[in-house]
Symmetry: C2
Subunit: 334 residues, 2 copies
């Protein structure tokens, strides 16, 4: 890729220095030097996450570049949301086979729209030639000692999830079918579109994460499947977990297209939701309503932390045989 | 890649949370949660850089994993050095085709040794399956207003470079010849090895960068070729540049193996040096000796910033016809 093409690329991303057209006063030096210089607000702790999307693994070949740009930032904002942090700045490492203007414009638009929504400034980047791979690193703040961790839950704490898990995994399956030339059955259009949108344009729960500071005892973002991620939270907290299958919030679209059994499986094991799963001491329940309003998304109690380690799935009041299989299994079965 | 293999990978990198076995007190939460939580020293500005190495572009297929790990961190430390910043924390996004223990152990050893030397803690990471690609993001600090920028030079400022540029580019050519099954001519061994080491294990000039705070008027790290990077510094400073070809510090190894003309070309246009190039008001010359000692590497005056834009190469007191071709051209000519 000649140097001139990289100048072109720089032009696309330099715009994102000013999210939504508004500069951040805490960006002392943005894109264009050897590194960015930033001002962390006095007394705040810094929160940092990095995540990579690889073509063929995290998105399908031929995926809309808007979606790739959106998701590359969204998965990182979701990590910050899970910490209760307020995102501020992002750095982008983009490896791509060729500098196609149409791709770059759409990718930057997808990333830029989400960045503007959260007032996140792109302050640095590196573009190289190679197989399509996108790493984004996001930085944000949290008041001292208030970061939400995976550890911190205790037996008796209630377990909640935001939104409707499983939708994104179902959406990915529909995307795969479309990519393979499959045709949607009649009547599927609206529900199918809703699920695909959940995969292509997930909503990082940043406002919810902030609202859960000082309230949730532990928090994790659901990226690899609800059951597995909830199990990670429980294990980090030194607990086990009782999950109520009947309580899982299944979206009407997911029920309609997948049927009840498959919907349940997708909600438990499907990846790419980017919802928050958190534990809450029961005494905090009254305050949760306020947080739910601030978070702008439905919250559902799906279980409780217990002393005995491991995950127990209950259905109709009875324990079910259940072996959590996790993300990788699902990815191969889709 | 099954989940279990990623657990294995995590083990290799979790060790790097404690550089050289010593934990950093400013890492409040390291690898293992959704994000890291870090404490920036009061009153310091935050400096952030991200850089990617792609197999086949930044290193040869079959390259020693120690070198890949070293360079992935070194290129980022070099960016922080160019800002005069003190590095503190790194995040790693590693995409690799398979979780081979031998590769991971050597990669982590190469990265870890350099991290320990600079007391940098690895505080986060993301490992995914895919074509071998390494993105590292480094964070550090600088006292308020003291970051070195590319802009800031003025006509009359002297231009310096650290170390002996061109060595790494010559080393890469020797690596390529070896990879192609070529045999080194007799007598080349020691000099050739020295040059190859400069490519495989570059030395980020972190101490020099810090010593140049308040002294250099502008600074850039030399990654894409000295002439091109010096031109970027000059342009960012609103200046042009007179480069003295006869003053370029060519290493004995480079002279011996490349001959004087090719050595000059490599010093001007070869990439991967990771030296610092900086401008200095002549009045600061006496203080530069102190900085040079702190920096621990030779510094050479190679030119002067001028009012007229553009790069002018002088040799034997006469201007030479010279068109800077930059990194990409060199990469194809090697």
């Amino acid at each position: 890729m000649p140097v001139g093409e990289f100048d072109l690329i720089d032009r696309y991303f330099r715009r994102l220095d000013r999210p939504g057209g508004h500069a951040r006063a805490d960006v002392l030096l943005g894109v264009g030097d050897d590194a960015a210089v930033l001002r962390v607000p006095a007394g705040q702790e810094l929160v940092a996450a990095i995540d990579t999307l690889v073509e063929g693994r995290h998105f399908l070949p031929g995926c809309a570049p808007q979606s790739i740009g959106h998701r590359a930032l969204a998965v990182n904002l979701s990590d910050l949301a899970a910490m209760g942090a307020e995102p501020a700045w992002a750095l982008l490492a983009l490896t791509l086979p060729a500098a196609e203007e149409a791709f770059l414009e759409a990718f930057a638009a997808g990333l830029g729209r989400l960045a503007a929504a959260h007032h996140v400034a792109l302050v640095g980047g590196d573009t190289t030639a190679g197989p399509l791979t996108v790493s984004v690193q996001v930085l944000g703040f949290v008041p001292p000692g208030q970061a939400l961790r995976r550890a911190g839950g205790a037996p008796g704490d209630l377990l909640f999830v935001s939104g409707t898990p499983g939708d994104a995994a179902a959406g990915l399956q529909l995307e795969r079918r479309a990519a393979d030339g499959g045709v949607a059955p009649p009547g599927e259009a609206a529900a199918g579109q809703a699920l695909r949108e959940r995969f292509l344009y997930p909503t990082p729960r940043v406002a919810l994460g902030r609202a859960l500071r000082g309230l949730a005892s532990a928090c994790i973002d659901v990226s690899d499947g609800l059951a597995g991620d909830a199990a990670k939270l429980a294990a980090a907290s030194g607990c086990g977990l009782r999950l109520e299958a009947d309580a899982l919030p299944l979206s009407p679209a997911l029920r309609a297209l997948a049927g009840p059994e498959r919907a349940l499986q997708l909600a438990l094991e499907g990846g790419d939701d980017y919802e928050l799963c958190f534990s809450l001491p029961p005494a905090q329940l009254p305050e949760l309503a306020v947080a739910a309003q601030a978070g702008g998304c439905p919250l559902t109690c799906i279980g409780v932390l217990e002393q005995a380690p491991g995950v127990r799935l209950y259905r109709g009041g009875k324990i079910q045989p259940y072996v959590a299989t996790g993300y990788d299994h699902f990815a191969n079965s889709g």
